[in-house]
């Protein structure tokens, strides 16, 4: 089969809808278009039945029961609902929340909002491998701690946190402290079980696991029952936790995506790990001064975040126009600051500026990996020939010994 360009290797940003998912969704746009809340006719009943079946599939993927799944518009809403909803409901017995510096913005900015309302938030640092230090977490939990939010797997570096140990620690230190996890990047990629990790709230989304955009879920534990305030008021859908007409085709797609993920996760994980390792090993064998960011051992099988020393990430992306990946150099955004996740690992800003994130997924092939390796090697070599820093490195100059002028924008 001929190689098709451009190649999509940015599966942490989103994924294509699996054709099996799309096929399951289609009838719910046209023939079975009913409102799942309509109790008076067959259109509503069919929609409700489809939603309940999907709810079961999503629950099964994470070891939950169907009644613990609240459908939302996506993970950003789920994170907001979990964090603000729990803080608001329980504010009578505490004012403290804990999260981690490398969390997604949906978590960090929900926390910042709560700080403005008077809550206290602890932002834990991570170790150089991207993992949370359990001793620091334990020390941070007090009798006022309402909630701890720690993600399953990081969206930039793919590093997986030990949620089983974290859940055990939280419940041992303060059994009333709720445990929320943004599980978006890890769900369907690595095993995750709400019972094993003693999670109370978990944010999920469909579009990172070959489902449609615009649909997600929040797992809300029932035994013991976890109470949260809604953030959207209205018709009382989803047991009052999330009002609004259900996105029936989206939910059906989410359900099918969850079913496929559960059935195929083990085989797909092995295949992706082999592809990722091929990508990593060949790049590192052919290009000196390349560094993997974050733990290689505790990492999503499809993730590779790697810095190419002495080459700036955005210029590299520009050279890779037939390859869709992302850069830790935030020159691509308006902020001009390199990735806060990479900086939290303690790597130098120049190495953060030199990083690329590859996200391999279900539809990537070995042929694509081969093509990407040869393209990357060629482009990095070209840019190094253009790089004054590479020249200085080759001449044995220690870049840290140079008194750099502050750049125009710093």
């Amino acid at each position: 089969m001929a190689l098709k360009l451009p190649i999509f290797m940015d599966n942490h940003s989103t994924t294509p809808v699996d054709p099996r998912v799309l096929e399951a969704m289609l009838p719910y746009f046209t023939t079975d278009f009913g409102n799942a809340a309509s109790r008076t006719h067959v259109f509503g009943w069919r929609a409700e039945e489809a939603v309940e079946q999907a709810r079961g599939h999503v629950a099964a993927l994470i070891g939950a029961s169907a009644k613990e799944i609240v459908f939302t518009s996506g993970a950003t809403e789920s994170d907001n609902l979990a964090i603000k909803g729990a803080a608001w409901f329980h504010k009578g017995r505490g004012n403290h929340l804990i999260t981690v510096e490398t969390e997604h913005k949906a978590v960090l900015d929900s926390m910042k909002r709560l700080e403005k309302e008077g809550f206290q938030v602890t932002y834990l640092p991570v170790e150089t491998d991207g993992r949370v230090n359990l001793g620091k977490l334990e020390a941070a939990i007090t009798d006022k701690t309402l909630l701890v939010s720690i993600m399953l797997a990081n969206n930039e570096i793919g590093v997986i946190q030990d949620l089983v140990a974290i859940g055990e620690l939280i419940k041992r230190k303060n059994k009333l402290t709720l445990f929320h996890t943004d599980a978006v990047q890890g769900i369907g990629k690595v095993p995750f079980d709400v019972e094993a990790a003693r999670v109370d709230l978990a944010s999920l989304t469909a579009h990172k696991m070959y489902g449609p955009k615009g649909v997600g879920a929040l797992y809300v534990r029932r035994k013991p029952r976890v109470r949260i305030d809604p953030i959207i008021d209205g018709g009382g859908h989803e047991r009052g936790m999330r009002s609004g007409t259900l996105n029936v085709p989206g939910i059906v797609g989410f359900g099918m995506a969850a079913k496929i993920a559960k059935d195929e996760m083990a085989a797909e994980g092995m295949r992706l790990l082999a592809l990722r390792e091929k990508l990593r090993k060949e790049i590192q064998a052919r290009l000196p001064e390349t560094f993997v960011n974050g733990s290689l051992e505790h990492r999503l099988p499809g993730n590779l975040n790697i810095s190419f020393g002495y080459v700036e990430g955005e210029s590299l992306l520009m050279a890779l126009k037939e390859l869709a990946v992302s850069s830790g150099s935030a020159c691509t955004s308006a902020s001009l600051e390199p990735s806060y996740v990479l900086r939290a690992l303690g790597i130098g800003e120049e190495m953060a500026h030199s990083s690329l994130r590859f996200g391999l997924g279900r539809f990537n092939t070995e042929e694509e990996v081969d093509h990407v390796v040869s393209t990357i090697v060629e482009k990095v070599e070209r840019l190094r020939a253009l790089s004054p820093l590479w020249e200085m490195f080759q001449d044995g100059v220690d870049l840290k010994s140079i008194q750099w002028e502050a750049g125009a924008h710093h």
């Binding site: 210029s315 130098g348 502050a406 924008h409």
Partner: protein, 127 residues
Amino acid sequence: MAYSEKVIEHYENPRNVGSLDKNDPNVGTGLVGAPACGDVMKLQLKIGDDGVIQDAKFKTFGCGSAIASSSLVTEWVKGMTVDQAMEVKNTKIAEELNLPPVKIHCSVLAEDAIKAAIADYKAKRAR
């Protein structure tokens, strides 16, 4: 981000990439920016005894706009006198390359690189 055609053209076919002998008394070297900021430019000018710039070479670590800005100024300053080169303004560079507001700092850096190279040349001559 969409780059202008001129940025892409310079990025893909950069002019005057390379290095001159930094110990040559007629060569001024400017090294500006910082790795932590994501841009470093090295610009070298070979200046005749008549004060005319005979050659210019650059190497740049930075985004496409930074590479294009430095490539462009090497073309411009060749044949200029030192005094003329000191008058090259970042606004002209930004205008020529259609740089968006977030990339203006690249043109500022290129202007700074010219000034730094000339300052180095003058310091050498004063010795």
